[in-house]
Subunit: 397 residues, 2 copies
């Protein structure tokens, strides 16, 4: 054997590659953040030539910022301190269980931590993430439980005249069994896409864990792309790798709501599901809450479970669509049919808080039955993960 083949040690391969890699892309052997036994997070970066490094993240006391909607809270920042070897560090206090986001600011430039490969994109911004476990945050972790399948598929929309990408979660055991399942349609906000709930929202982990704990029924979760002008998430369509923008392709002109029965038909003709009102739920955040409101009242026999998470309520000024006509009459028809759950959730500093309060007043005046769930803070993914974790266990029971 040795006569023919020069022995190539895989250990040498490892050495060569990791050396090349380190020279190429940096990284080295720093781990950042390191989570302490006291649930602190210790950030580090090797940067002997940098003048100033800060970390900005949602675990730091918020700062006030002026916006067109008034004063808003934004994540605070903290300075890292440089040692004599050029390594900068900062360690937080003990942190509460949560999925946190952060970036570094190196000499005034916001950039991701080069020693943390875990990142999530939100619109055009990429931030690092880490999880402090415990409590509800354990739902956001991958645990040693049976795992569902996440498929990225495409379906044809005749109304929107394009094929469109869609994310479909099927619960553990779906493929092996012959049971039929209920379906939960879960919609993202403006700036999001069919990847948002599974990435930023940890929907896969939350559902895997709730189902494994017996707290939620096994169900399909269907995550559409709610931007009627879009085929797929940025980078996943023939438009290529353009820079995404917040309202780029959202439209919000009624077209998404109008086409929604095509999604339901696609799911019900392609999956082993229970195709009736009592086995369909719809919920969404912000624009997705708006979509859930308008879809559920437009098709009052379709959904027995409706969730508005930090929802926008009314259409854009000047938008004309039959979807938004006669809201009062359509709501009356919907609530006369007594949906099993109409759930409104919002944070008490959300800039949509007043709009939701007014909408609830309207429902109260008419005697329409709904449930209300209020949290602290505002229009942030932390709240939407909480709302999903609270809402999913109430479905199909």
């Amino acid at each position: 054997m040795k006569k023919f083949i020069v022995f190539v040690s895989i250990a040498m391969l490892a050495g060569a590659i990791s050396c090349a890699q380190q020279a190429l892309w940096g990284g080295g052997d720093i781990t950042s953040p390191v989570i302490g036994t006291d649930n602190s997070a210790a950030f580090s970066i090797f940067a002997p030539e940098a003048q100033k490094i800060e970390v900005t993240g949602d675990f730091l006391p918020p700062q006030k910022m002026q916006t067109p909607m008034g004063e808003m809270d934004v994540p605070g920042s903290a300075a890292l301190v440089k040692d004599d070897k050029g390594v900068w560090t900062y360690t937080t206090e003990s942190l509460a269980p949560e999925l946190y986001s952060y970036t570094f600011v190196i000499d005034g430039v916001k950039v991701c931590d080069p020693n943390n490969p875990y990142m999530i994109r939100d619109v055009a911004s990429v931030t690092n993430i880490f999880i402090i476990g415990g409590g509800r945050a354990d739902l956001y972790k991958v645990n040693d439980v049976p795992h569902g399948t996440v498929a990225r598929r495409w379906y044809q929309s005749d109304l929107l005249q394009k094929d469109r990408r869609i994310t479909i979660y099927t619960p553990a055991g779906y493929e092996a069994g012959n049971e039929s399942y209920p379906v939960f349609y879960l919609l993202h906000g403006a700036g999001g896409d069919e990847n948002a709930w599974s990435e930023l929202g940890r929907a896969t982990q939350i559902l895997d864990n709730l189902i494994a704990q017996g707290k939620a029924k096994p169900m399909l979760v269907v995550m559409t792309n709610g931007n009627a002008g879009q085929q797929a998430a940025p980078g996943e369509s023939p438009r290529g790798m353009y820079k995404p923008s917040f309202m780029g392709d959202t439209r919000m002109d009624g077209a998404f709501e109008e086409h929604f029965p095509e999604v339901v038909k696609f799911i019900e003709s392609n999956y082993r599901v229970k195709a009736d009102k009592s086995h369909r739920a719809i919920a969404g955040l912000s624009m997705g809450g708006f979509h859930s409101l308008h879809i559920s009242k437009e098709y009052p026999d379709m959904f027995d479970y409706v969730g508005l998470y930090s929802a926008a309520i009314m259409p854009r000024e000047g938008v004309q669509s039959k979807i938004y006509d006669n809201l009062d009459e359509k709501l009356k028809i919907q609530f006369d049919k007594k949906p099993k759950l109409y759930w409104i959730a919002i944070g008490n500093t959300d800039f949509l808080f007043k709009a939701n309060t007014d909408f609830r007043k309207k429902l109260d005046e008419k005697g329409y039955k709904y449930q209300y769930y209020e949290t602290g803070e505002g229009h942030i993914w932390k709240n939407w993960r909480i709302y999903l974790s609270e809402f999913a266990p109430m479905l199909f029971k």
Copy 2:
């Protein structure tokens, strides 16, 4: 209506959020890179306080670096130039069609370009990417063609005693039809995982495009996790968000090869596929080429198509496994059964070039039939995307 609901303009929502987002995470309205009509790439970043900014990427003339394996080429770098507004820029020459990787180096720290949300992780390093279209690189783009489904599933391995994550590509039309398809098992290298081929390797796009052009047969592509010690890609298993390392869980002790029939059985009992030798292919890069070599000779009736891309040939020193015993005898059995295609591809500067040359000599001396494909450059994803693009059209014909 207006009596009950305060009108919340979605345009105002957009304003507030994008403003908050910009303050939070930076970005602003710079796009980087901008691809010119001459196929140049123009990089920009706003960094008034930075002292020095470079771009390092595989489109720049390579530099030499010393490694344990001798001198290796690594991507070169170029300086960005600052204008009086604090915006730094650098524009390349016209670039050949290709998928390129790069990072910035800001005051000595390698970081991702904060204005380009398209990034790929390789082991623990994250780099930005962009594509210059044309020629073969058009295979790497999402084009307006029918798209297959990509599913992330889990299967149980009794031999490895864990459930394991697996990526499965089913071609466009799979779900709607009743045809049975051939299966291509596509294996990653050390430091990779079940996400590597679909992310770094653009396997989804390459297969969608080759199938749409009629150049490849519709087929399933099954992308396993080849690290026997691992359940799933970093961050996707109960181990949580640890910092990945190059050889962390690879083992390479024969266990992955031994368990491989479990994967084949899982696929063949869960998908509508043709379950015979002439409808099974296996290929992989580096460690995945090593796995393909050893799996295909261990189970000589399993695969009629075998691809070694920049393959490691021999096991690690000191590893004892029946998988690696009697290589010559097993190769004789395999080649006596005349596989339809045994394909060896490597770059002429690859540090495994000599090992592959020696292996080919061995095959030549025995009169075993194989095909050989040589490219320039070395042990890089650019070559592995090329090899996949060349190999897939030869399968199942």
